[in-house]
């Protein structure tokens, strides 16, 4: 399978501190790739490289290459607006805007262009359907998004990303604010979505990585210790360090 994202010799520095060291990774399309590792291992930093969110942090320096569909995204000339439309992101805590449910979902579309009439309604419905919210919210679209439950808010945030037709979804601890049942439901949603999207999930919930991903990368101290099929990582990892981490002996 041809890789959607190829990362080559990626180094990242926060000032003098090197947060990522020589990361090499290929992320396949239409599957879930999980990134695990103890706090501070660089997994979120790595995720933010994939749509250049780290550019927003002062003093960050990145070297190496990231190719998405063979297009280099780290070069100065890359179109960031187009990149972030193509590579959407879902965060740890649901962050709906203090607007109506409808306005939340179509927010990105308005930023990215002038939708034709009727298009907004169409996309809002499609996006809410994709995250399993349409039936319960179709009559409440003008209500404030802040009134929703945390799980609904997180689904809404995913719908907001889907509305701009991304190809890659980055999820940074997408369930850490949710209870176990809501977590399982979001995991099922991720499982469904991988048919259409390339998904990269950062999680410190190892069991979640096991349940939802097809490939897993274990990061430690800014380096990839092991990367491979999830079933291999969780039944018979090649590296002792990985085994110690996933069995809870370390980390």
């Amino acid at each position: 399978m041809k890789e959607k994202i190829i990362v080559k010799n990626l180094d990242l520095y926060y000032g003098n501190f090197q947060a990522l060291q020589g990361v090499n990774l290929g992320i396949k399309p239409c599957q879930v790739t999980a990134v695990i590792g103890p706090s501070g291992c660089g997994k979120s930093t790595f995720l933010r490289c994939l749509n250049r969110m780290n550019d927003l942090i002062e003093g960050v320096r990145v070297t190496g290459k990231i190719l998405i569909d063979e297009e280099e995204i780290l070069q100065g000339g890359a179109d960031l607006v187009r990149l972030r439309k193509k590579v959407g992101m879902v965060f740890q805590r649901p962050n709906p805007f203090p607007l109506s449910i409808f306005e939340n979902v179509c927010f990105g579309m308005k930023v990215h262009g002038r939708p034709r009439s009727g298009e907004l309604e169409e996309v809002v419905e499609k996006s809410l359907r994709a995250v399993g919210l349409w039936e319960e919210l179709k009559d409440l679209l003008d209500e404030s998004a802040l009134r929703l439950s945390l799980e609904q808010q997180q689904r809404l945030c995913i719908a907001r990303v889907l509305a701009v037709s991304p190809e890659v979804l980055l999820m940074d601890e997408p369930c850490s604010a949710l209870d176990p049942v809501a977590t399982l439901r979001i995991e099922e949603l991720v499982h469904e979505m991988k048919r259409d999207y390339t998904i990269v999930v950062v999680t410190h919930n190892m069991q979640q990585a096991a349940r939802i991903s097809q490939e897993t990368a274990y990061f430690y101290l800014g380096e990839i210790v092991e990367f491979g099929p999830t079933e291999k990582i969780f039944t018979n990892p090649s590296e002792k360090k990985t085994e110690d981490y996933i069995t809870g002996r370390f980390g």
Binding site: V181, E188, Q207, A210, R211, T230, E231, F234, T235
Partner: protein, 228 residues
């Protein structure tokens, strides 16, 4: 709530069922090889064992993978551990079939010492128990599983009868000892197949009711706590 884990469990269940059918068939074929003095059939049984061993490994791997990836609990955990045990039981049944096939080839070298009367009954009963145990497993039907436990006695009785009868024949005709011993072993192999089928039935009861019926364990524990 829909869980994609259920699709994985279904995949595991179907894989085990397919292996079970193959094992049931191979037990039947081994017995036919003996009764029909068909060397080709006996060789097919021995060759087919490799394929069954491969199935066993695949099911084992998938079961362990599901435990590692989904952290199953309660009925899901009981189900996967049951599948792993049944997998082992089925593989051992197939080994019994290979033993029967080997003995069939040995027995074919001499004229038959006696007509087969009880042995086909034992073979049919054992094979039937395997089939029913698999069905109980597929349907998660503890009532059917319980019936199978009761049928084990039938095969045990036939086995005892064959043992006595062949022993007597051997005393009368010492030249038939080689064949006699082989027949006693075949009968024992069939009895083992039936035992393994009852193991499967016990596991089906465990997974659907959460009750362990092996070795009358509940009664023994109760007795133990009363005397303590």
């Amino acid at each position: 709530m829909k869980r994609h884990f259920d699709d994985e469990l279904k995949r595991l269940k179907e894989k085990l069922f397919r292996m079970g059918l193959q094992v049931e068939e191979t037990v039947g074929k081994a017995a036919q090889a003996l009764f029909e003095r068909d060397q080709k059939k006996a060789e097919e049984v021995m060759k087919g064992d490799q394929e069954i061993n491969l199935c066993e490994i695949e099911i084992d791997e998938l079961g362990h993978e599901l435990i590692a990836l989904y952290q199953p609990t309660a009925v899901d955990l009981r189900f996967i551990t049951m599948v792993l045990k049944i997998n082992n039981d089925l593989e051992r049944m197939a080994d019994q079939a290979v033993n029967i096939a080997e003995k069939a080839i040995e027995i074919m070298k001499e004229p038959p010492m006696k007509p087969y009367v009880d042995l086909p009954k034992a073979a049919d009963a054992a094979r039937g128990m395997v089939r029913e145990a698999l069905k109980a497993f597929m349907d998660r039907d503890p009532a059917k599983a319980k019936e199978i436990l009761e049928r084990d006695d039938v095969v045990d009785e036939i086995n005892d009868r064959i043992y006595t009868e062949v022993q007597e024949l051997m005393l009368k005709k010492p030249e038939s000892i080689r064949q006699g011993v082989a027949l006693i072993m075949v009968s024992h192999n069939l009895e083992r197949v039936a035992d393994l089928a009852t193991n499967i039935a016990e596991d089906v009861i465990y997974v659907s009711r959460g009750i362990d019926v092996r070795h009358h364990i509940r009664e023994r524990r109760e007795e133990k706590s009363q005397t303590a």
